[in-house]
């Protein structure tokens, strides 16, 4: 078996910004003392005059980004998801969301795959928080290719834009000629007839693995990658639910308010079918190697497979 290429989406974020900086003079990158970790150091090295380190002051960073945006610059404010969506929620809501300013928030180290740093740094609420802000776009890319496309889309889309990236290296799953990133459009990765698995971020790979295992048991699973949580592609989800009659959501986020919540909201307005939400079951994370934590929270391929199997039985 050939070695699967793995890249952390935070790395993709940094690389995409460096590319974007070459093409567009108005791109400015902000950090809060984490340029090495958010991988924006690549941009910083290439464009030192357009990289602003705000120090450890995330709320101030969001305000500075808002101020830059009022003057026509396109700021990418970068920090860990916990400190962007969590700590600076109200700054994003009132200083960026309410005036609908063209600020991009690059939130890295989302979810339990932060790993050893543990619960204080494992943000499991950011998607829920960000998607309640009117006019905010929320994207959770599944791999390197999608993450780079998301950064480009963020630049091209006017208005506030939240991007969720991970720390852990994840397999590249979209390196095929048919892949095309379209904001707000889900991606049909595998067709099936017995159950629909809707996944985002690192869990898309787990969903594909689970579908493979289910197939071996004679269960045909459809897998949909939802990279844009807001605006949500309700049509692709409803059509699949209509076909399979059962929907599973998989995310590295609290099952309250994230992808699972968004899918349930969409389905209760369209096709009412049973939904199982796989994710972090309203609890805090804990320390451990990232890959082991995915297993512990049953968000790896095997964990998702077992949960779906049990639910269908």
């Amino acid at each position: 078996m050939s070695e699967v290429k793995k890249i952390a989406t935070r790395e993709s974020y940094g690389n995409a910004l460096a590319e974007l900086g070459k093409e567009h003079e108005d791109v400015v990158v902000l950090d809060a003392d984490l340029a090495g970790a958010t991988k924006t150091s690549t941009f910083k090295k290439a464009f030192p005059d357009r990289h602003i380190d705000c120090g450890i002051a995330e709320c101030d960073m969001m305000g500075i980004a808002a101020g830059l945006a009022t003057t026509g610059k396109v700021p990418f404010a970068s920090t860990f998801a916990m400190f962007a969506a969590g700590r600076a929620f109200e700054q994003i809501r009132n200083s960026i969301g309410y005036p609908h300013l063209n600020v991009k928030v690059g939130a890295t180290h989302a979810g339990i795959t932060v790993g050893e740093d543990g619960a204080t740094h494992q943000c499991l609420e950011d998607v829920a928080l960000m998607r309640t802000i009117p006019g905010m776009t929320v994207v959770v890319p599944s791999d390197d290719i999608e993450a780079k496309a998301a950064v480009k889309a963020a630049y091209e889309t006017d208005g506030p834009f939240y991007m969720r990236f991970g720390r852990m290296a994840v397999p590249v799953i979209n390196d095929n000629p048919d892949y095309h990133f379209e904001l707000g459009k889900g991606v049909m990765l595998r067709e099936g007839s017995d159950v629909t698995i809707v996944a985002s971020g690192v869990c898309v790979h787990s969903a594909l693995e689970a579908a493979e295992k289910l197939a071996a048991d004679g269960i045909s699973a459809e897998v949909i990658n939802i990279h844009t949580i807001k605006p949500l592609d309700k049509d692709i989800i409803a059509a699949s639910a209509e076909k399979t009659g059962k929907v599973v959501t998989v995310e590295e986020h609290n099952v309250i308010g994230g992808l699972g919540g968004a899918v349930c909201e969409a389905l209760c307005e369209t096709v009412q079918v049973p939904v199982m939400r796989i994710g972090v079951q309203d609890e805090f994370g804990f320390s451990g190697p990232a890959g082991d934590l995915l297993k512990e929270f049953r968000l790896d391929g095997q964990g998702v497979y077992e949960q779906v199997k049990t639910w269908l039985a």
Partner: protein, 279 residues
Amino acid sequence: MNTLELQKMANEVRKSIVTATHSAKSGHPGGSLSAADVFTYLYFKEMNIDPANPDAPDRDRFVLSKGHTAPGYYSALAHRGFFPVEDLKTLRQIGSHLQGHPCMQHTPGVDMSSGSLGQGISVAVGMALSAKMSGKDYRVYTLLGDGEIQEGQVWEASMFAGHRKLDNLVVIVDNNGLQIDGNIADVCSPYPIDKKFEAFNFHVINVADGNDMEQLDAAFKEAHTVKGMPTAIIMKTVKGKGVSFMENQASWHGTAPNDEQYAIAMADLEKVGEALCQK
């Protein structure tokens, strides 16, 4: 405008504050009145702005960090010609462009939405930084309440502004001494305010009477001479200034005058106006 004309205009702004909050039956007259003179000075003397072209890219910017004093801000903008003075009577009503706190998408001349305390100063810092990055020479002004500086974000923003030597930024603190729960010195004292800004590498200008147009003029002129550091103008003011029963009363922070109080307030201001006409 000369000093007398500015004083007269400030008095008109005060009348509009009282009228707007009376019409709205809510709003924040106290801090609007304490800052009426600085609003007037900024929009009629200091800032490079054009009501006919409110979005001009090289204009000076103003961020009302203490966003609740929108009635004062709106009154200055209206009298300056950004929108009709009559609009002030629609303050806080459904369908009005004059929201309870400033909204840049609705109101001509408003450079930034604000209202949640502590946030506006960061945005002003971002604007000033942008000018430096682009080699533009516009200036950025932001007005904070003295209670507002209890917010930690104010000091995050100040640390950054001092560090980046943003000499195109002027932070104004309206030191009227009162916040909702009482005297700022009793609630959670921010004093000494000047030494704090000095410690954050600001050039500090203390204004003994921020309701005196000549003292404001001297302070803003001095600010123009400062190079290599941002300026903080700490101005002592009287909350509710110009309206006899509102002066120095914390209770008038966020209460609107009723019909009877409105009549008294307007009579007070008419008297001030008449006195100015005798000069």
